[in-house]
Structures are given as structure tokens and as C-alpha cells.
């Protein structure tokens, strides 16, 4: 198999306008990855599948990763003017102070795909895409049109991470039920205190039964307890 850098060069030569970034992996596994821009991702994916040398015809694994907002504390050297009494006379002196500044690095959601080639028997190639943020811009293009095996896996990512895949033919929750609101695999997900309670269609029935019990009951209805 070509190295990941060579594949990157091949993509850039073949797909006009494709922006691909190399993401190194320091682990001994040395599975480096390529980050695709969402705008050109589908075209790049089609190239990876159809190119006779690469022939990544098999998408093995698709999954999400949550990168929450990170607060980074940095030590910055700041020069500022301080009024100081020097030799009894008040003067303005420049002074360099170290200051700890906190900045928030905005988080994102990431979709990671592991590709193999069944015909050439090589792999894996890891490709990844990032959303703009974690709240309102969580759209990524769906790769189901290129590899059908993304169908359930992208549904699972949508379910557990909340990435909305544009172009997916049937984007519903896969594992949680349809009325569920949150995305449990996100790192800031808070488990509910009460696992037992779960609104069901039977809530209305229960309420009606309660009302029925309290009503002045006539003949034919047995007294409860």
C-alpha cells in the first residue's frame, strides 16, 4: 500500500479543490489519518474507492468522537506600564510580568472511518471529518452513497453523538428510542437521576385511571382496596 502521504498527494492531484490534511498518530500502531474537508469529502471518498491502485472498496468501521470545549491555561509574558516611585519621583516604568490567561478552544464532533481494500487486500486507511462546533453546526456529508456499510454506523453516530449526516437516506436513531432527546456518548452527557421514569403512551391511561378511581363511583364499579 502507498503511504498515507502518498495517498494524500494522489488525492490532491486527482480531485480538484480537495483539501486534505495529514494527521499523525504517535502511537506504535502508526495508523496515520487524513482529515477531509466536508465540502469535498464525498468526491474524495469516491476517488479512494474507484482508483485502481487504492481501491478502498470496503468501509470497515465508522465512528464518532467527541472533543468538548477545552479550557487551556497559558502563561503569557505581558509588558505593561506601571507607575512606580523611583528615587522619590513618580515615574512610568515598563515592566514584564508573567500572567496566566485562560482561553477556550472550541470543541467539535468528529467522524472517523476505517477503510480497507478487499480486492487489493491492504489497509487500513483512516479518514476523518470534523464538524464546525458541537451545538448548531453539526452537519457532515454522509458517505452512504459511496459505501453502504456506513448506513447503520452513521445512524449510530447520529444517535449517540448527534452528528447530522446530510444525504443519508434514513437518518433515525439506531439504538435509543425515537423520543429520546440527548446524545449519550457525548462527554458532557448527564445521566438522569431517575432511570425508571420514561414517558410512555400509557401515562395518559394511568392518569385517566387515577381520575376514575377518585370519582364518586356508582353501582357496577367495584371499590378499590
Amino acid at each position: 500500500m502507498k503511504t498515507v502521504e502518498e495517498i494524500k498527494a494522489a488525492i490532491e492531484a486527482a480531485v480538484p479543490g480537495a483539501v486534505v490534511t495529514f494527521v499523525p498518530n504517535p502511537s506504535p500502531s502508526a495508523q496515520h489519518s487524513l482529515r477531509l474537508e466536508p465540502s469535498s469529502a464525498v468526491r474524495v471518498a469516491e476517488f479512494l474507492r474507484d482508483d485502481p491502485d487504492l481501491a478502498f472498496d470496503y468501509l470497515s468501521n465508522a465512528t464518532g468522537v467527541d472533543w468538548p470545549d477545552k479550557e487551556i491555561a497559558e502563561k503569557v509574558k505581558v509588558t505593561r506600564e506601571v507607575k512606580k516611585a523611583v528615587d522619590g519621583v513618580e515615574q512610568t516604568v515598563e515592566e514584564t510580568v508573567e500572567e496566566t490567561r485562560k482561553r477556550v478552544e472550541p470543541g467539535c464532533l468528529e467522524a472517523v472511518y476505517h477503510l480497507y481494500s478487499v480486492s487489493k487486500k491492504h489497509g487500513p486507511l483512516v479518514i476523518r471529518m470534523k464538524t464546525a462546533n458541537r451545538t448548531d453546526q453539526v452537519e457532515l456529508p454522509s458517505l452512504t452513497t459511496v459505501w453502504r456499510s456506513a448506513e447503520f454506523q452513521e445512524r449510530e453516530i447520529f444517535d449517540l453523538y448527534g452528528i447530522a449526516f446530510k444525504g443519508h437516506r434514513d437518518l433515525r436513531r439506531l439504538l435509543m428510542w425515537d423520543g429520546f432527546k440527548d446524545h449519550p456518548m457525548r462527554r458532557d452527557y448527564v445521566e438522569p437521576d431517575d432511570f425508571e421514569y420514561e414517558p410512555t403512551a400509557h401515562d395518559a391511561v394511568l392518569k385517566r385511571a387515577q381520575e376514575h378511581k377518585n370519582r364518586d363511583q356508582g353501582a357496577g364499579i367495584r371499590e378499590q382496596g
Binding site: N25, S60, T63, H114, F152, L175
Partner: protein, 390 residues
Amino acid sequence: MSGVETKTERTAGWNRPPVIVPTGEGELLELSMGPHHPSTHGVFRMDLTLDGERVVRLRPYFGYLHRNHEKLAEGQTYLASMPYTDRLDYICPLTNNWAYALAVEKLEGIAVPERAEYIRVILGELTRFQNHASSIGFLVQEMGASGTPLMYAFREREKILDLFEELTGARMMCNYMRFGGCRVDITESWLEKTRKVVAGLPGFVDEYEALLASNEILMARCQGIGVLSPELAVNAGVTGPMLRASGINYDIRKVDHYGIYDRFQFRVPLGEHWDVYDRYMVRMLEMRESLRILEQALKEVPGGPIIDPKAKLRGFRPKPGEAYGRIEAPKGELGFYLISDGSPNPYRYRVRPPSLINLTILEDMCLGLNVADVLVIFGSVDIVLGEVDR
């Protein structure tokens, strides 16, 4: 399918199953099958839309057994997830252990001693054997052979589970593999028992084959049913015996040579007709190939340590990075994707479940067939809901 003409067309790309045009006679019937249907292998539900007896739409529903295995694993140390992997595909706990151990070994760059590799291969192939035997049993049970072939398979599975119990202390929840090796060493008496059991297994396969292979009902119900074309199988990520039954020569034991599989001689059985009968036959032949590997591996197990002395069990903190490790589990490609941020817990822990992804094309295979065929096709996929729903 005879007598009814089905009109199917494949829309552009692979992302849609073919469209079945109803005959227009009578109304369509919605049928919800499961989650407590006897032949859904646990809690799986599918909504069928029927035109008479013909299936025109099939929608699978998952999640009845969902406990968010991945979230649980991200909240605890690497080692603490090992017993949980047993519960994924609970028919084959040892291959689940192996896949997870392999992924962590890739992440941290741990080498496995030769003796441990031999033990892993022996246990892995025993697992594959008993999985295929019982999955064929379940398949024929779907066709109404209530129990007999399944009990034949369970009789042999019992012997293999006894071996697991003696070695690991548990019949199904083995929790046996460790990063860089295995938990306890095998003894000479265990090896002797295993050799004895393995020597008896070819007789069982012969008996099983004589019982089933040319059975008229089995042939009538399986041949030409649930055809899956190789192009679609690859594109839909189908793996394991299902992929090979569609004629694709792709066995991760041969492709990746993980462990010490390059030392053993075995063949990869392939299907020709891509139907349920081929899937049955591929599993049957794979059982024989597993026995061949077992005979070679059991001949002489080298001595030495069973775990890498440098591998840390307590206080294990892999360096930041990520790794994807996969093995050829009995049901298909079982992969683990791990991201480490240097802490004792994995930052991301993902299981690639072969059972779930093999179900992607269930609708494609069932459209235009009868309800009774759906059960047979579903049985031929060979799933375990513990792994599908995680």
C-alpha cells in the same frame, strides 16, 4: 418465489435497496415481527410490509438490549473492560477478548509470547467451531427441525465449554486474555483432554453433514434464497462466512496474519451461488478447516512465558495515540478502535460489531420473498443481539 413475478430495480448507487412494485391486488399488510419472536435470536424486531405473502419492505429495529457498552468502557480502566467484552457476542467470548487485547497491544506496541499465541489460536478455533456448529443448528431450527440438529451441536459445544471451564473458570464469561498474553497457563493434562476432544470432532462433522447436507427440506428452503451479490456484500461491509459465501476470498486470518496464523495451513472455503445454502456450507467447511488448524497447533505447544513480562496490568497508561485492531471472529470482522489521551481510561473505545453491520443488507436479501424465507435468511446471517445492540 415460484409463480410470482417480482419486478426489482436497483436505483443509482448502493445506498438504497431495490424497489419492489406491489402487484396492486388487495391491500398491503404491516406486520411487526419480534422483539419476542422465537426465531429472532433474542430481542430483535423487524417491521415487514407484505403484499400477500411477499415482502415489499423490511425495517429492522435495534436497541432492546442496548446498555451503551462503549460509554461504560470509557469510564473505567483498560483492563476493567476485558470482562465486559465477554458479554458482546456471548457465544464466542474468547474471540472478543482476543480482539480487544489485540487492539490494546497495537495501541501500546506490546509483543505477545509464542506460547500465548498458540493458546489464543487453540481457543479461538475451538470458539469458531462451536459457534458455527450451533449457528447451523439455529438455522435449521428456523426451518422447523425443532431441536434435533441443534442438540447434536450443543452436545459437542458442551465438551468445548467444559474445556473452557477447566482453563478459565467460566463456561461463557471467560475473561481470559490479557494485554500481552493470557491470564493462566495451560497444563499438560488440559492439552491432552483438548487433543482427545478435537480428535472426536471430525466424526461429529461427518455425522452433522450426513444429517443435513442432502436433506431435502434443507435444500428446498435454502437453495436460491437470500442471494447476496459479491459487489453488494463488499460495499455493505459484510464480513465473515457471509462474505465468503458470496464468493469473496477475504479472511482476515489470511489477510492480516495476526497472531501466528501464517504458520498454519488451512483453506478458505468460498460460495458459488451466494445463497443461504452456501452460507450453511461455508460454515460447515470452516469447521473442518478449524479442526485442521487445531490439529497443527495442538501438535506441539512451545514452552515459555504466557504473558509479556513488560506488559503492565495495573496502572496501565498507554501513550497518547489511537489504534484500530481487528480479528476474524466467527461472525465476521470484530474490530476495536481505541483513542488514548495518556490517562488510565480510554478516551474513545469503539466496538465494530460484525453482527450489526452484516444486517445492513437484510432488506436487500429478503425483498420479494415470502415471510417464511425471511426467517431462514435472518438465521443465515448468524447474529447475537448482545453484540448488535451493545
